[in-house]
Amino acid sequence: MKIFTVLLGVCLVFVFVWERVDMVRVGYQIERLKRDKTVLERQRDELRVKFSSLSASNRIAKLATEKLGMSLPQQGQVIMVQSRPSVTPSADVAPAGVRVARNYLPSRSD
């Protein structure tokens, strides 16, 4: 009985020590993961800022006009009209606005 009690005591001490050591080990692991998380968050934020600045309207307009040779439609070239379906529309389909670029109307001779 005495031996059993001593063994139990020793086991408890081992469990306690093991738990403390493991806690420190997990603590280091958590800190390492936190650092990794911080680095990834910084990368995410950097990419978000980069994406936002690259997708700015003024930059896209500049690239479109200067690099791709595109130009803004002149006044009256883009006209919004209500679509007029050729067949009777189903009840759940609402008429939608359609953008028509004047230059590409099918009736044009070119």
Binding site: Y28, D45, V49, A56, S57, N58, A61, G76, M80, G97
Partner: protein, 573 residues
């Protein structure tokens, strides 16, 4: 004898053991009880580290979630001069990476100090280049820096955040309490090598970021407004300009552009005074745009009907020993034509028919002389004098848009009330506030201020204002396929030297809404101080209105409300 000797030894051994044990106990009591407080504090200093952490400042996005301002952790570089062997060599190596002059770096590194900032809040790329150098005596800490990824876009509305992350202007200042990240003190455990093991209490949370603000502003509409305004100001060689675009039914601001603009990312290079959002702070004499409000008041009060005939006095009338002129010699005309031809004499007669008290009441009802309460800091009140302080000419002057100061946001809000069947809405720029996890905290609902005029009067004024664009002074504000209602304004400015109206300094403007029968946009365009003395609201501001309006309506997929003739639609074919 042997027994007594053995017993003596046992007692001696017991005594030694007891003495030893007593010493240990004494030491234990000394350490654990008597010196407990002091030793515990000393241990704490060695293996605990208290840090002050602040959550990042909240993000600002447009109505579609596009990022307009956000925080990012960036490197700040410091030096420990006392540990450097060769400050000159280190300075040379650093100068290839840091945006600091070589002699300045060397001067800082030669100081007899243990800490000196070398450069703060650098770009991440500069930080990475510095890392590759791995210099002794040079350290890097990460600090939050505010980025405005769209550059100068919307700068006057967003405002700026300072070096320590505090809002200084615009939305950044007005919503500081929401945007600022949570501050928290945190106790961390350190090991023998100084490495952080874990927080003292595992229940401690990291500080929470500031809230995210969603604006009513649409980035594309803002871009269109700024582009067209900048082009017009530049072409007219004007001093400044502003454009405000509202949704007349809600009061939501879709765009607010001010020229000249500035880049909030480069605050150090900023000229003094450029931060001011003149669209809400500065009052100007509105000139003829005020006639729309006078017309609304006169029709509402029954003092005039659109068909009432008014004599134009052939372009010249004397009131209180002052001669009022029209830009052309007008005879008899309908009240609608008074507004469409922008007759000063007709407007003066309308004001006099309305009377001082009623005129003053309607100025207040339309929101002049009081803040619109837009959620931006520094809003101006304008200037509306009390009738007791009016002179004999004041009614006539105010009816022509003189002797009164209004801010652009007041004027466009008043026109938005005409567009909104007579209901004045409160303009606003922030539509939603969310916490860092995206949970909705507050949604701003459109706020009605008051009904100013009846829907019938509003429709009647709208028809008159449509005539301004179809055959009046504002024909260049027309947008193919849409009915536009609006009013031109060309107001002389007071010459501060002579205290009289200047013949060379004036403000041109156009205010209106489109489509006239179901308005989606209310807009004001102001071009201040154009070089050409013959320029007018009709020639300068109206085309800007047309250009912005057409692009924005197309972007918003608003259908045309009337047939478009080919000649109008295809000017270049």
């Amino acid at each position: 004898m042997a027994d007594s000797g053995s017993r003596l030894r046992r007692y001696a051994l017991l005594l030694v053991l007891l003495a030893g044990f007593g010493l240990v106990m004494f030491r234990l009591v000394t350490l654990q009880v008597l010196q407990a407080e002091e030793l515990s504090a000393r241990a704490g200093r060695q293996h605990e580290k208290t840090v002050s952490l602040e959550g990042p400042r909240g993000t600002i996005v447009d109505r579609h979630g596009k990022v307009l301002a956000m925080n990012m952790e960036v490197p700040s570089v410091f030096g420990v001069p006392t540990t450097l062997e060769s400050p000159a060599k280190t300075a040379r190596q650093l100068s290839s990476v840091l945006p600091v002059k070589l002699n300045e770096l060397e001067r800082k590194l030669r100081q007899d100090r243990s800490f000196v900032w070398l450069a703060r809040k650098l770009d991440p790329e500069q930080g990475r280049r510095l890392d590759r150098l791995s210099l002794d005596g040079i350290g890097v800490v990460m600090e939050g820096r505010r980025f405005y990824p769209k550059g100068p876009l919307l700068a006057h509305v967003l405002g700026v955040a300072g070096m320590d992350g505090e809002g200084l202007e615009g939305v950044e200042y007005r919503y500081e309490s929401y945007l600022r990240g949570e501050k928290r003190m945190m106790v961390l455990q350190r090991d023998a090598l100084g490495r952080t093991v874990f927080p003292k209490s595992l229940a401690e949370r990291s500080p929470v970021s500031g809230h995210q603000l969603a604006l009513t502003i649409d980035e594309v509409v803002q871009y269109i407004a700024e582009k067209e305004l900048e082009a017009a100001v530049s072409q007219a060689q004007a001093k400044s300009g502003s454009v405000v675009v509202l949704d007349p039914q809600s009061g939501a601001v879709l765009a607010m552009a001010v020229s000249p603009a500035f880049d909030p990312n480069a605050l150090s290079a900023l000229k003094k005074g450029r931060l001011q959002n003149t669209a809400i702070t500065d009052a100007y004499e509105p000139g003829s745009t005020m006639k729309a409000m006078i017309a609304a008041a006169a029709i509402e009060e029954g003092a005039m009907k659109p068909t009432t005939m008014v004599f134009g006095e052939h372009g010249r009338m004397t009131i209180a020993n002052t001669v009022i002129h029209d830009h052309e010699k007008l005879g008899w005309m309908s009240f609608a034509q008074v507004i469409q031809k922008s007759s000063n004499i007709g407007a003066a007669k309308t004001g006099m028919a309305l009377g001082g008290q009623r005129l003053y009441r309607y100025l207040g009802a339309f929101g002049f002389g009081q803040r619109t309460e837009i959620d931006l800091p520094g809003e101006g009140v304008g200037l509306v004098k009390n009738p007791k302080a009016w002179g004999r000419r004041s009614i006539a002057s105010i009816s022509m848009g003189q002797e009164i100061g209004v801010t652009p946001i007041q004027m466009v809000s008043a026109f938005a009330a005409l567009a909104n069947e007579g209901i004045l809405m409160k303009p606003y720029v922030v539509s939603e506030i969310r916490d860092a996890d995206g949970h909705l905290l507050k949604r701003v609902a459109p706020q009605v201020k008051r009904r100013v005029i009846s829907p019938e009067t509003a429709r009647s004024v709208t028809r008159i204002l449509e005539g301004v664009v179809t055959h009046g002074t504002g024909t260049r504000a027309a947008i193919p396929g849409f009915r536009v209602a609006g009013k031109t304004g060309t107001a002389q400015q007071i010459d501060l030297k002579t205290h009289r109206y200047s013949s060379s300094r004036f403000v041109t403007s156009f205010v209106g809404y489109v489509p006239a029968d179901n308005p989606r946009l209310a807009m004001i365009v102001i071009i201040d101080g154009p070089k050409d003395k013959r320029a007018s609201g009709g020639s300068l501001a109206a085309p800007v209105f047309s250009s912005i309006g057409e692009q924005v309506l197309s972007y918003l997929n608003v259908s045309t409300d009337r047939p478009v003739t080919l000649a109008m639609a295809m000017p270049n074919f």
